[in-house]
């Protein structure tokens, strides 16, 4: 304990820590507050436009239900509260869907489209800073742990005077980790708390999310601290230790993540969206022709045993629209379902690719815990689609069940519009996030365990 407090005091006096700490706190605060401001603005806009859309839907003129279906509305994806810390996939996925008859529209307008080319270079978010800069800070603090002492000869002095190497290592690691936890962990926690307290977070289970999220970032930091100390244990000079640790950083944080994506793309390719859309289009084409329509009309009449649409107990147009939509839904489910499945499969493979780089593992883990992973996006897309289908089915049923005679058109009003509930997106529960986080968490733990395991024999046989 005395040794730990001595190490803590030594670390606290280190000018390096003050510099690194100041830079980290500044970067994290600027990025965090910027993200928080953007997120608050977006939440405000979404709340306003969602209310306006609801009012427009309810306040539309009396009209044929199918026209109302075409009138439709826009639905918006609220940002996850912890997106302030890790926006994850949110900037890269559409956030707004036009809900209208017949079409499963894409979620459009991604923040990245508006961000400009320069923004894609750097670290746009708190999570990017943690993934790229915090390891650098850990290395700059940890590389000299033993190598500098060895170079100066003070390690020989310490070991020669009976200081147990294990204790020396443990107390140094603990002191440096505590320092990093203060300069990186506390700002993260502070920004997270600010984001959580200032936003609506119903259904998000923000407290356990924030705690596990910060814990994951600290575990990642510890990986690089351990790696730097591991290098320091074997390097003869401080320069050698720094060079090796920086090479490891460049490899694991800069090159390997992109390589991992290339590898995953090659081994587990996702379906091409363009081809998926082309298949959907082809699936509709043959169904949409006048000939196909005519054949279906005849088969409906035959099914009801009548020769003229006027004799049907239901409205022919409503019934056919309903059946057409059922066909379309099946095509969408088959093709887009396969597409989203292929992305999910790729995401799972990418979590395993974390074995190549802890940054990849952390990215998967972090966005899952923050609720900004692709699963949440897919959940939004399908929830919006289910909402769209709910409207179409209700409108078509209204037409089908009220057969019109003599060329008149059915007109519905507010009573029918009110039957459609407002669009609400319940986030996927935290339990689901925990289940999805299993693989990346395991891999991050491996990254933590491996250098720790390697350090053990090296510490025992520590050479002065």
């Amino acid at each position: 304990m005395r040794r730990l407090s001595a190490e803590l005091a030594r670390t606290a006096r280190d000018a390096r820590l003050r510099w690194i700490g100041a830079v980290l706190v500044l970067l994290l605060t600027v990025a965090g507050l910027g993200a928080w401001r953007d997120s608050a603005r977006y939440a405000g806009e979404v709340a306003q436009v969602a209310a306006a859309e609801r009012a427009r839907w309810l306040g539309q003129d009396a009209k044929n239900p199918h026209s109302a279906d075409h009138f439709g509305l826009w639905v918006f994806r609220p940002s996850a509260p912890l997106a302030v810390l890790d926006p994850g996939t949110e900037p890269y996925t559409g956030r707004m869907v036009r809900v209208e008859a017949h079409v499963f529209n894409d979620a459009v307008y991604r923040a990245i489209q508006d961000a400009g080319p320069l923004a894609r270079f750097g670290f746009g978010s708190v999570a990017d800073i943690v993934q790229l800069v915090v390891p650098l800070a850990a290395i700059l603090l940890g590389f000299s742990a033993f190598a500098a002492d060895r170079e100066r000869g003070t390690l020989r002095l310490a070991l020669g005077n009976g200081v147990p190497p294990g204790q020396l290592f443990a107390s140094r690691f603990a002191a440096l980790f505590a320092a990093l936890a203060v300069v990186a962990g506390l700002p993260l926690f502070g920004i997270g708390a600010l984001a959580v307290m200032s936003q609506d977070h119903a259904g998000w289970q923000v407290v356990p999310r924030l705690l596990t999220w910060v814990a994951a970032q600290l575990a990642y930091t510890a990986v690089f601290l351990l790696l730097a100390m591991l290098v320091s244990l074997v390097a003869r000079t401080a320069r050698g230790a720094l060079a090796a640790a920086l090479a490891v950083w460049a490899l694991l944080c800069v090159a390997a993540p992109r390589l991992a994506v290339v590898g995953v793309d090659a081994v587990v390719p996702a379906l091409s969206y363009r081809e998926v859309r082309a298949r959907i289009e082809a699936g509709f084409r043959s169904h949409r022709t006048a000939e196909a329509n005519d054949a279906r009309t005849r088969s409906v009449l035959a099914r009801y045993g009548v020769g003229d649409p006027g004799e049907l107990p239901v409205d022919l147009r409503g019934l056919m629209m309903s059946e057409n939509e059922a066909h379309n839904f099946a095509v969408y489910d088959r093709e887009l379902g396969a597409f989203f499945d292929s992305i999910a499969t790729q995401d799972r493979a990418l979590a395993w690719a974390g074995l190549l780089s802890p940054r990849v593992a952390l990215q998967a883990l972090s966005q899952t815990l923050a609720g900004t992973d692709f699963a949440q996006h897919a959940h939004f897309v399908w929830t919006a689609e289910a909402y769209r289908r709910g409207i179409s089915e209700r409108m078509n049923a209204e037409i089908r069940d009220h057969p019109q005679r003599g060329g008149t058109t059915l007109v519905a009003g507010r009573d029918l519009w009110e039957e459609i509930p407002p669009f609400v997106l319940q986030p996927l529960p935290f339990a689901r996030a925990l289940a999805d986080a299993g693989v990346p968490a395991l891999i991050l733990a491996l990254w933590l365990g491996l250098p720790a395991l390697l350090c053990r024999p090296l510490v025992r046989r520590l050479k002065p």
Partner: protein, 495 residues
């Protein structure tokens, strides 16, 4: 005499650098990275070309199907063909069948940089109606991890990894000699620090430039990613020169850091932090500056505006009023044709024109923003060596934001051209339907499929040359500045 001596010295330094195993390991890693990057780039370009071919095939298929429908429906038939099922009708064809694509073909140097191509598709199908509040709705979702982490393309290797390679080769030159005491031996010879530093850093610069250019050339040949470069030789040569200047810039940075005589640890730490600043922190800051100088107009506000326009059109008699006003502007004898304003195609054309007008200011704001952001990005990019080189590579590859915003504008203009092509034909049919045979189910008023305007492709070669020249100038200026500073500082050996 002095030149001969310097050549000898340079030769000795070259041998020294090439004797180190680290040199070969680092260069091998560089060449492997370049080959891999070129391979991924070649794959991307091949996919883009395939997509263009598919789009062209789709256009042909639609025309073929439409002609077949013409033949089929020119005979009496009991079936009913609605307008949305009728490719022989100008309105039906334009709205529900036509596959007209605005495309942005890859340049011969497309393999160099994925640029914005992973978020901005190079193909847009012209569509009419309301769903497109903006021009940039085309969207091809895929792996978000790839978008987040960025592609492993040549631009990544050249802009990010090459400086790290240079730092690995040159970062501790002189300072490691200082640490180990060899510098004392060197300094005691009758030679000044400027000469020694010139030879040491000159040797590394030569090796790094040859490895980078040679590795890139090898990667391009092996991957087969380079298109037919006829006419692009100048752009390619300028890019090679800019790339050499970029390598020289980092070597000069290493020399400047060495001239501080702070030892290897400090030199490495300073250089890696400088790398992080130049390639990551500075571009981020510039990105924030662009955002401040050209603030993004709210998409949600534009959507809201579009919906207000829609509500207006569909409330009460407003739609009918707008339609007849539109018709009055188009056709003089409209009053003599009762019911014309109720025809769905007329209502649709009037509605879309109304929407276009209602959203014009939002569209303009979006286009202005795209242009302003691209222009500011172009101007500010010269402030960081990484961004200026990356921009040169992206412009050469034709995947830069500026080309894309021009493409979006061209796509919007193409849509207007298409509408201008179809509108008179639709109106003519509404006013005076084409005669069809007795019992023929379709309208048969449109067969000019080949006359439909095609999108005019543009492959901006001059922009590529210009940007490569800008990059070359900026990087040379930066290199000279750093080298001059290092030269000034290296007036004497440290005592």
């Amino acid at each position: 005499m002095k030149t001969v001596r310097f050549a000898l010295l340079l030769g000795a330094e070259l041998r020294l650098v090439l004797r180190e195993r680290l040199t070969w390991a680092v260069l091998a890693a560089l060449v492997v990275s370049l080959c891999l990057a070129a391979w991924t780039g070649a794959g991307r370009v091949a996919m883009e070309r395939a997509a263009l071919a598919e789009a062209a095939a789709d256009t042909d298929r639609v025309v073929r199907d439409a002609r077949a429908a013409h033949e089929r429906y020119a005979k009496p038939s009991p079936i009913k063909v609605n307008y949305w099922q009728d490719p022989t009708d100008a309105f039906g064809y334009m709205t529900y069948f036509m596959a007209a694509y605005a495309v942005k073909p890859p340049t011969p140097l497309a393999v160099f940089a994925a640029g914005q191509s992973d978020v901005q598709p190079a193909i847009m199908r012209a569509s009419f109606g309301f769903s497109t509040v903006f021009d940039d709705t085309a969207y091809e979702p895929g792996s978000t991890a790839r978008l987040r982490l960025g592609p492993f393309d040549l631009a990544f290797v050249l802009v990010y990894l090459v400086p790290l390679v240079v730092i690995a080769l040159a970062g501790t030159r002189l300072s490691s000699e200082h640490d180990s005491g060899i510098l004392r031996m060197i300094a005691s010879q009758p030679v000044g620090p400027r000469r020694v530093a010139s030879a040491k850093f000159g040797a590394v610069a030569l090796i790094a430039i040859v490895a980078t250019l040679g590795g890139t050339a090898l990667a391009l040949v092996v991957s087969g990613g380079l298109g037919a470069v006829d006419g692009w030789e100048d752009a390619l040569a300028l890019l090679a020169a800019a790339l050499s200047a970029y390598v020289a810039f980092w070597v000069a940075a290493c020399a400047l850091v060495a001239s501080l005589w702070r030892g290897g640890v400090a030199a490495l730490a300073i250089l890696v932090l400088a790398w992080a600043c130049v390639t990551v922190a500075l571009p981020s800051t510039l990105g924030l500056a662009v955002e401040a100088l050209a603030p993004t107009p709210s998409r949600i506000a534009a959507i809201d505006a579009s919906r207000r326009a829609q509500v207006r059109f569909y409330t009460g008699e407003e739609g009918a009023r707008i339609t007849s006003a539109w018709l009055t502007g188009k056709v003089l004898e409209v009053s003599s044709r009762p019911g014309l304003a109720d025809a769905p195609e007329i209502k649709r054309l009037a509605r879309d024109a109304f929407y276009d007008e209602a959203l014009a200011s939002d569209r303009d704001a979006a286009q202005d923003h795209a242009r302003a952001a691209a222009a500011w990005s172009r101007r500010l990019a010269i402030l960081s060596p990484a961004t200026v080189l990356a921009r040169a590579l992206e412009v050469a590859a034709g995947t830069d934001a500026e080309r894309h915003s021009a493409f979006l504008a061209a796509g919007a203009a193409y849509r207007r051209d298409l509408r201008a092509f179809f509108e008179p034909r639709i109106l003519a049919q509404a006013l005076d339907p084409a005669p069809v045979c007795q019992g023929c189910p379709a309208r048969l008023d449109f067969a000019a499929y080949d006359a439909v305007p095609a999108f005019v492709l543009s492959v901006p070669r001059e922009a590529a040359e210009h940007q490569a020249l800008v990059a070359l100038g900026c990087l040379m200026a930066g290199t000279l500045l750093l080298a001059a500073l290092a030269y000034r500082r290296l007036s004497g050996w440290p005592a």
